[in-house]
Every structure is written in C-alpha cells, then in structure tokens.
C-alpha cells in the first residue's frame, strides 16, 4: 500500500511542480544549474552490488556511481561533488522529471515509451551496460535450459517488466511454469533460498549481484538463456540538449579512451606526448590539446582527461566493479569494445 500511495503522491507532485516550473526561463540548462550549485544530484539504486551500492563506510560504489563521478569531474572538476539519492524503481522517473535529481544513473532499461514525450519523457545517454533478463537456479538442481523448468516454480519481483518478459519467453518456448510474485527483492531471494521456487528471474546483472550476497555464491548458476534485451543507460530529462550532450559525450569519452588505449595510469603521459607531437591530430583533439571540442559542449576542453583521471576508462570501470577479481564477476561479452566482439562503440571525436 505504501508503494501505491507513494506513486499517487508522486503523480500529483509532478503535476504540481510542472505547474510551478511553467514560468521558469526556457534557456536555462541543467548544465548551468549544476555548475551554479557546485554539486551534481545523481539518482542511484544503492542496493545493487557492482552497479551502485552503499558501502559500510557510507560511500557509494559501482559502475553507475562511477558515471555520476565522471560527470561531476567533467562539469565541476571534482568527482566527489556528487549528492547521491537512493531511488526505488517506481520513484526514479518522477524524481528526474520533477528536477529532484540532475542525472539518473540507476540500471534503467532504455525503451521507446520511457524515451518518448508521450511516455516518461526521458533522454537516454549511451548504454553503460548491455543486460538481459536471465534465470538463476541451484547448481545441483540439474536444470540447464529453460525447457528443464517445465512444471517448476519461478520467483519474480514486481515493479518492472520482468513478469511480462518471463511470460512471453516461456509461452514462446511452450514451457509451462508457475510464477510466484513478491514485492521486494529480498523477499524474492528469501523464497528462492528457502526452496519455495526452483528458479529466480531478473536482469542477469541483478542476479549476479544478488548471488554475490548469498552464503555460497558458487552453489547457484545463471542459465545461458536470455529472455529479453535490457540495455541499461543513464538518463536525463528530455528537452535539455546541452545537458544531455554533456552527459552523452562524457560517457563516449570513457568508451573512446579504452579504444585509444588511454587509462587513468597513462593519461598524463599521453597528454604530454600529444602536446609534444603535432602529428597526433586525433589524439590532440580527443585530449583537448587543441580543437576546442569541449567548448562546443559547454565543457572544459580537457573534459575527457578529467573524466578518465577520475574514474579510468570504461574497461577499467568495468573491471573494477564487474571484472573477474570483483565481488560480482560478470563476463564482459556484449560489454566489450566493438573490436573485441562487444557492442561498445564511440562515435568520432571530431
């Protein structure tokens, strides 16, 4: 009931704020607001290890968090000038549209209706993590494919499109199953661990992250079957191109840095080398030695240097939070650069 009430309150709040915001000047971009404030308000989940997680010392950690930090480093010159807001799935879009946060970096799937003005009215930044809905089972259950789940029970959480994806995929495969729905992620996990259901479904990253919290993570396996496409991307409110572009090219900068082989460790050497060698034209533009690309965006020319110095390139960010040595190891697969068979590809910095 609380969640429904919150939703209702949120709906009325949005309309109220919409009415008030009507008189504000149109030309004011969020980019200026953030600069003026000196702090980036970033919406995160805070409950998903590897993506955004509140550590015991009170700091936030994860791939989504690093996007916030990179944007803060670029816009404000200080990656720690971020005010994190923990948001639940139903709250997130309202928080963004009402202006409570500047940037939503919270494992959010980019979809048509969320992007469109008639829907949630967001503008999505480049995809930060290519995900898909998956199924997790006990390793000793002998279940290896979706067909093995015939007649079994699958536990699922509410508040996302997970339920419908599950139904669509099993219907298409002709597999009969039983879905048991809970409101909270914790309840889904408890029911699964207590043996009420043979399998549990969520985004594959979410499953990996949930598994890392179990007593014996190795006793659970994520099936190869992928039930849906879930491109997770940060989002800003629609109709503010200057702000959206600043966020978009900050993320492309992280991806392109990996393509160029620039890391947080060698970036200063790269900048010095490019400054000394006029033949490295592309590198000089990218690192802001010349070209004024940053200025076109309303950012400092060395914005890529600021971002990479603060959080590393995309590959470094990934390895830190989701790499083999991390708490939530997820194979890079689709999330590799395009040269390694993945989907990450930055447009040219020209």
């Amino acid at each position: 009931m609380v969640r429904l009430l919150k939703r209702l309150a949120a709906v009325s709040l949005v309309s109220l704020l919409g009415a008030c915001a009507g008189g504000a000047p149109e030309s004011m971009s969020r980019l200026d607001t953030v600069k003026e404030r000196g702090e980036l308000q970033c919406g995160v989940s805070g409950k998903l290890p590897g993506f955004s997680f509140l550590r015991t010392d009170g700091s936030y950690d994860g791939i989504d968090v690093d996007i916030c930090r990179a944007v803060a480093a670029v816009v404000l010159g200080d990656s720690s000038a971020v005010d994190y807001r923990q948001l639940s799935a139903p709250e997130r879009f309202t928080a963004l549209r009402s202006g409570e946060i500047d940037l939503l970096s919270r494992n959010t799937t980019a979809t048509l209706s969320r992007d469109s003005e008639g829907g949630n009215g967001l503008t999505f930044a480049p995809v930060v993590f290519y995900d898909g809905q998956g199924l997790m089972v006990r390793a000793d259950s002998g279940i290896a494919t979706m067909e093995d789940l015939e007649g079994r029970t699958v536990c699922v959480g509410s508040g996302t499109t997970t339920e419908r994806n599950l139904s669509d995929a099993f219907l298409a495969a002709g597999v009969n199953y039983n879905a048991l729905k809970f409101q909270e992620k914790d309840q889904v996990a408890s029911a699964y661990l207590q043996g009420r259901c043979e399998s549990i479904t969520s985004d594959r990253s979410g499953l990996a992250s949930m598994r890392s919290g179990f007593d014996d993570p190795s006793a659970h396996r994520i099936l190869n079957a992928v039930l849906s496409k879930e491109p997770l991307a940060p989002a800003t409110v629609a109709g503010d191109p200057r702000w959206s572009d600043a966020v978009r090219w900050t993320i492309y900068g992280l991806i392109a840095a990996e393509e160029f082989g620039i890391t947080s460790a060698n970036i200063q050497a790269m900048v010095n080398a490019a400054a000394a060698d006029p033949n490295q034209a592309a590198m000089r533009r990218f690192l802001g030695v010349d070209g004024g690309l940053g200025t076109k965006l309303g950012l400092p020319d060395d914005f890529v240097v600021r971002a990479v110095s603060a959080v590393g390139n995309y590959g470094e960010i990934y390895d830190r939070h989701l790499g083999p040595g991390s708490d939530v190891p997820i194979p890079r697969d689709l999330n590799s650069g395009y040269r390694d068979g993945g989907l990450h590809y930055a447009p040219p910095f020209n």
Binding site: M1, R3, L4, R7, L8, V11, S12, V14, S15, G18, A19, P90, S113, E117, G118, G119, T153, C155, S158, G159, T160, T161, E163, R164, L166, S167, D168, L171, Y177, N178, A179, L180, K181, F182, Q183, E184, Q187, S190, A191, Q194, G195, R196
Partner: protein
C-alpha cells in the same frame, strides 16, 4: 435485560439516544448549517475532480479504460477461476478479486472462532487459560501485521519439511510444498496469509467479545447460577453471550472490514490477491489512476458486502429479542 451501553450500529438504540439529546438549534438554523456543509462538500469534490482532470491533461493522458481488454501477459501463481496470461487485464483483476474473496471469506469464519474462544476464555475460572488468552491478545496486537505475515510465511510455512506431516488424524497435512485441510489443497502462501490474518484479527475480535461480555451485568451470571446452570461454560453460552451479542456485533463488523483491508498485505507473501494483480497491471500499463479506481471500487464492493451482511445479522439478533 442488560443495560444498553455504547451500541452505535443498532438503529433502535441510536433513535432512543437521539430522543434523549438536549433540544438542538431552531429548524431554519439547522437547515442553513446543513446546506452550507453540503455546499462545502460539493465544492471539495468538484475541486478534486477538476484537479485530477487538469493533471491528467497535463501529463497527456486522459482517463481511459481501454487497457482493461488488452491481454495481461503475466502469470498468476494461483487462481480459482480459469486463467491464462493471454486473458485480459479485466479478467486478471477479477481472478485477483476472487482470490481476495477466498482468503477474506475463510478468514472471517476462522478469526471469529478464534476470537470468540479467546474472548470467552478471558472469563474462565482456570487461571492458565485466562492468562493464555490475555497473553495471546497482548502479543498479537503489539506486533505489526506485516511482520507476523513474514514470520508465518518465511519462518513457519517455508521452514516445514518437504515431506508432509499429518496432524489430527489426517484432517491437516503440512509441508513446505502445500497445506491440506479437510481434503482441500492450499498453497503455502495462502496458508501463511490465512494463518496470519486469522490470528491477528482474532485477537481484536477477542477484545470485542470480552467487551461485550463485560457489558452484561454481573447479576446475569448469578441469575444463571441460581437457575442451576452451575457450569460456567453453560452460563456463558445460554445466558450471557446472547445478551452480549448486540454489543459485540457492531464492533465485529469493523474488525471484519479491517481483515478485508489487511488482506492487501498478501503481496508480501506471494499470494496473488487483487492488490498484487493491480500492482502488476499499473506497472505494465502505466495507468496508475485508473488502476487505483478499480482497486478502490473493488474494496468498496467488498466492504459494502461485509457491512450489508453484518447489518442483516444485527437485525436478526435484535428481532429475536
């Protein structure tokens, strides 16, 4: 006859109390006041409606119910009516409503039994029984219902062994795969929800029953004893309880309605009630306001049904006197 204490539900009593009220304001003044109040109420409703309309227009979506006939596309863990994911949202909501009716209906009967027994037990001459009844009420009333439901589901029911344990000569069979009562198979989700709601509401009903019995003058107990009904249980059943009934029934009705409303906590233990279904429906369609309206209407229907039944019962009891 017992002294009639607080009894707002019984209409003949309220009429009697009205007559005892001091003379009110002159008729024209009372009409004016009532008219003003009515106007204010209308204005408030009008304001809320126009606000809703304006907000809906601003977000670009008018009030519409076309989504009700679209396929729901989600599975329900249990259903009394036949249901497939290809069925419409309207049908899914109806299936959820029937699921709610089922747990509320059984909960009403079971919590009444528990409540009457616990309420009567607090008048027992047996100290242990009396203390047990008080202890039960105190414990259950002071722990939030959600916590109790989670306890029943995750600790008690899912903690059962997977091989069925048979109780009461085969009448009750328990395992973490399901519950069987009198040959009826229930899911553990339903079992946990029913157990939690029954014990919670039962504690409140016990207090209502205790209050009703206390309202019967002590003389009635003594009179019963002097008539040869030395047995306390017999005196309670034949003399005291029938006289306490008019005081108990109105309080009972509000406890029943509470039970119906509390049943929305079903989603915490994975039971597909109307609230759980509308939650998914609202998420998938984005039609929050329409979804709320459907939810509001179904609970209005459920509560009117319960209070209608209770009124009928009330009238029957009063006629018998």
């Amino acid at each position: 006859m017992p002294v009639s204490t607080s009894n707002p539900g019984a209409d003949h009593v309220s009429r009697r109390t009205t007559r005892n009220l001091p003379p009110g304001p002159t008729p024209w003044r009372s009409w004016l006041l009532q008219g003003l109040f009515g106007l204010l109420l209308l204005a408030l409703i009008g304001l809320l409606l126009s606000n809703l309309q304006v907000n809906l227009l601003r977000t670009g979506q008018g009030l519409g119910f076309g989504w009700l006939v679209q396929p729901a596309g989600f599975e329900l863990s249990e259903h009394w009516l036949p249901y497939l994911p290809g069925d419409s949202y309207a049908w899914a909501l109806l299936v959820g409503f029937v699921n709610s009716l089922r747990v509320v209906g059984l909960g009403l009967v079971a919590s009444t039994l528990v409540g009457v027994v616990a309420g009567s037990a607090s008048f027992s001459t047996n100290l242990l029984l009396r203390q047990l009844a008080f202890g039960y009420v105190a414990m259950v009333r002071n722990v939030p219902l959600l916590l109790q439901l989670l306890f029943w589901y995750f600790v008690v029911f899912l903690g059962l062994s997977s091989t069925p344990q048979v109780w009461l000569g085969g009448l009750l069979s328990l395992s973490n795969q399901g519950v069987e009562v009198l040959g009826q198979r229930w899911s553990v989700e339903f079992g946990a929800l029913l157990a939690g709601l029954t014990l919670f509401t039962g504690a409140y009903i016990a207090e209502v029953v205790r209050g009703g019995i206390t309202s019967v003058p002590r003389g009635q107990w003594e009179a019963a004893r002097s008539l040869g009904l030395g047995d306390n249980v017999k005196a309670l059943r034949l003399v005291v309880l029938p006289q306490a009934l008019p005081a108990i029934l109105p309080g009972l009705a509000s406890q029943y309605i509470n039970l119906a409303k509390n049943s929305t906590l079903a989603i915490a233990v994975g039971y597909a009630d109307i609230y759980a279904v509308s939650d998914t429906t609202i998420t998938q369609t984005g039609r929050a306001i329409e979804g709320f309206l459907v939810l509001l209407l179904s609970f209005l229907l459920l509560d009117l049904l319960i209070s209608g039944l209770m009124q009928l019962l009330n009238r029957m009891v009063l006629r018998r006197r």
